[in-house]
Symmetry: C2
Subunit: 388 residues, 2 copies
């Protein structure tokens, strides 16, 4: 550490890595400096020179150089846990890009290793967890004011990606190169936020369409149901082929309701008493009034609507700053690395359900079966090595 700053090693100087480098260079992350940059593309050295930081083509050489206290992995998904393991083994703090792995077995390996090294900070880049809108909702739900979950639905189809996006490189939208489609690449933030707010599902049944409206091997269409236990259920729908995408989240509780439109407008309804108590307290006369349109349900609840501003760059800077603060003084992590496995498991369960036509147990998730099914698809592609 230099001058109470964590020296970050950025692995992969693409769109994300470049953004993080810019945020740190511009002073947006006061407790962090760029320790070094590594990229397999030697041409990226020019940018490292501009920033006046060391450049490595080999990320292992960077980790071992002593130039960095921590790393962030801005590389294809399959590499996240592999590079995390390499860093943790060498005593380097690790911030993994989402997802923390493509399949749970792989995610578990890096999580287990991190657990054995409590002196090292291990985080996952869930920047949406710093979005004030979701922070407020998480706090409201955790306060217990709205009571127990009844049901939820998130339609998140504003991930429009034209065919040209998929044709950019040979690994994209393949089983062997990327390990999935919209569930692995675009929707992990929502898969995380949903479980962060509503809890971890116990089972999942999903309908996915693979190469539905895009010429790809993986899913561009997802319609899924989950079971949270105790009668509470959830629905999740996502796609990359809706030009005028929807982002609409609805969560019903015993004592209230949350509706979020476009990750911007939040409508919170708070019941004055629990809905079940209210239901029991009404007599036949009230029921008649209800049907005659003479009952005003509005007297039983209050509704609040809030608008939030979009703050993308700020989110990423906040995650980096929180990660560095954990390294420096133990400040609680917003997104601890082990949390990352929940989104991976849910995405895996959706794949597995679609492949097998069965409802998938997520409490005792069969990760070997998932890996075998994934490898079968990698084998059929014939372009990438199978995974273990």
């Amino acid at each position: 550490m230099t001058e109470n700053k964590v020296r970050l090693g950025i692995i992969g100087l693409g769109a994300e890595g470049g953004m993080y480098a810019g945020l740190i260079a511009d002073g947006k992350v006061p407790n962090m400096s760029i320790g070094a940059i590594s990229d397999i593309d030697a041409a990226k050295k020019a940018r490292a020179d501009e920033l006046n930081v060391p450049f490595y083509e080999d990320y292992l050489a960077m980790i071992e150089s002593g130039d960095v206290d921590a790393i962030v992995t801005c590389v294809p998904h399959y590499l996240h846990p592999e590079m995390g393991i390499a860093a943790l083994q060498r005593g380097v703090h690790t911030l993994l890009e989402k997802p923390v792995g493509v399949y749970t077995k792989q995610a578990r390996e890096v999580i287990d290793l991190a657990a054995s090294k409590p002196e090292l900070t291990f985080g996952v880049f869930f920047n949406q967890r710093t979005n004030p809108l979701y922070v407020d909702l998480k706090n409201l739900i955790d306060s217990g004011e709205l009571g127990a979950l009844r049901h939820t639905s998130w339609i998140i189809t504003n991930w429009w990606r034209p065919q040209g996006y998929y044709d950019q490189s040979g690994w994209r939208a393949t089983w062997g190169g990327e390990g999935g489609g919209v569930l692995v690449n675009q929707a992990p933030h929502q898969l995380d936020l949903w479980q962060w707010m509503c809890g971890i599902p116990k089972s999942c049944f999903a309908k996915l369409s693979f190469g539905f409206r895009r010429d790809i091997a993986v899913e561009d269409e997802v319609n899924a149901l989950v079971d949270f236990g105790d009668g509470a259920t959830g629905h999740f729908m996502t796609a990359t082929h809706d030009l005028v995408g929807t982002d609409r989240l609805e969560i019903l509780f015993d004592k209230g309701k949350i509706v979020v439109d476009d990750s911007k407008t939040v409508t919170i309804t708070r019941l004055k008493t629990s809905e079940q108590e209210l239901s029991k307290s009404l007599g036949m006369e009230d029921v008649m009034k209800l049907f005659m349109g003479q009952m005003d349900p509005g007297e039983y609840y209050e509704t609040e609507t809030k608008e939030y501003e979009s703050v993308w760059g700020l989110q990423h800077a906040t995650v980096l700053q929180n990660f560095a603060a954990n390294v420096l003084d133990g400040t609680e992590l917003i997104a601890p690395g082990p949390d990352g496995i929940n989104g991976v498991r849910l995405a895996n369960a959706m794949h597995l359900s679609a492949w097998t036509g069965e409802e998938v147990d997520m409490v005792d998730f069969d990760e070997e079966r998932y890996l075998a099914e994934l490898n079968q698809r990698i084998r059929s592609e014939g372009k990438f090595a199978e995974r273990s």
Copy 2:
């Protein structure tokens, strides 16, 4: 027929039957008169006397009296097909209240009988099919302008019913007396409209909660997925315990999108070219622009928003008038009786999936298995006779 009017026999003078009597008496259905009224409650004769029409305690006596050309069945669900069969067998035109049956086997019996009597009019009371909003959408979809279905979701939870509603009578919300909960009583209109517009699903997987937030035997919570084939899927969520209910329908097509809020506000997006063609036509440069926020997707589509007025009474009068017109001059029926089985099958498939934990085949629907499962629940209740 008297003076070119169909003489309707109203079976059951409760809320619905009373409304129909009022509409006809007030001249809102010019091609129909009240032929007679029947009700097992002798006290209802007073209203028949007011209207100056014959009254029967026995509906069969009314059917055989010669006073009526047609009947409508405003009675508990299980009786709809039974009374329809009795009427058709006696040469009387039949308008069944929804649902046309509680289980498909029962619905099929009345539909098969009607098919053998083409000289008789056989309709189902899907008044929502006369709602101008849904008529416009049905015509738009059938025109082919929006292309093939991709996915759809209907959240319809504004069927709030307090416990007092269920406690009104012993048959309500029981397996033997009503045959289901929100799927059989409140949601049949949406189950019909959804399939009318989007097509008939090929399979269904559903999570239902029985007596979830109400003290009832049947379902007050439904979260279901359907498969329309060719990769297109749907989601349907309904409940009777959401005090501030949602009514939101979304349908995505190859060339456009429909969103309906509160069965009132319709937003139609029309793409200038099919989304897949557009996706293929964009090069790497366009993709870069998209990610830089420099691409305006708005240049590729047009959006129209329409508001519709609510017109409940008019809907019911329109169904009666259309039914009578079919009797008198063969005018095409808005809701032919055989269409009624689709909603019954979908509700049955949701029950069966929830009971068995399996995805249910709807093309080759196992109606005997459904009936066996239903009878098992009727037996456990111990209050009503099993069905056959």
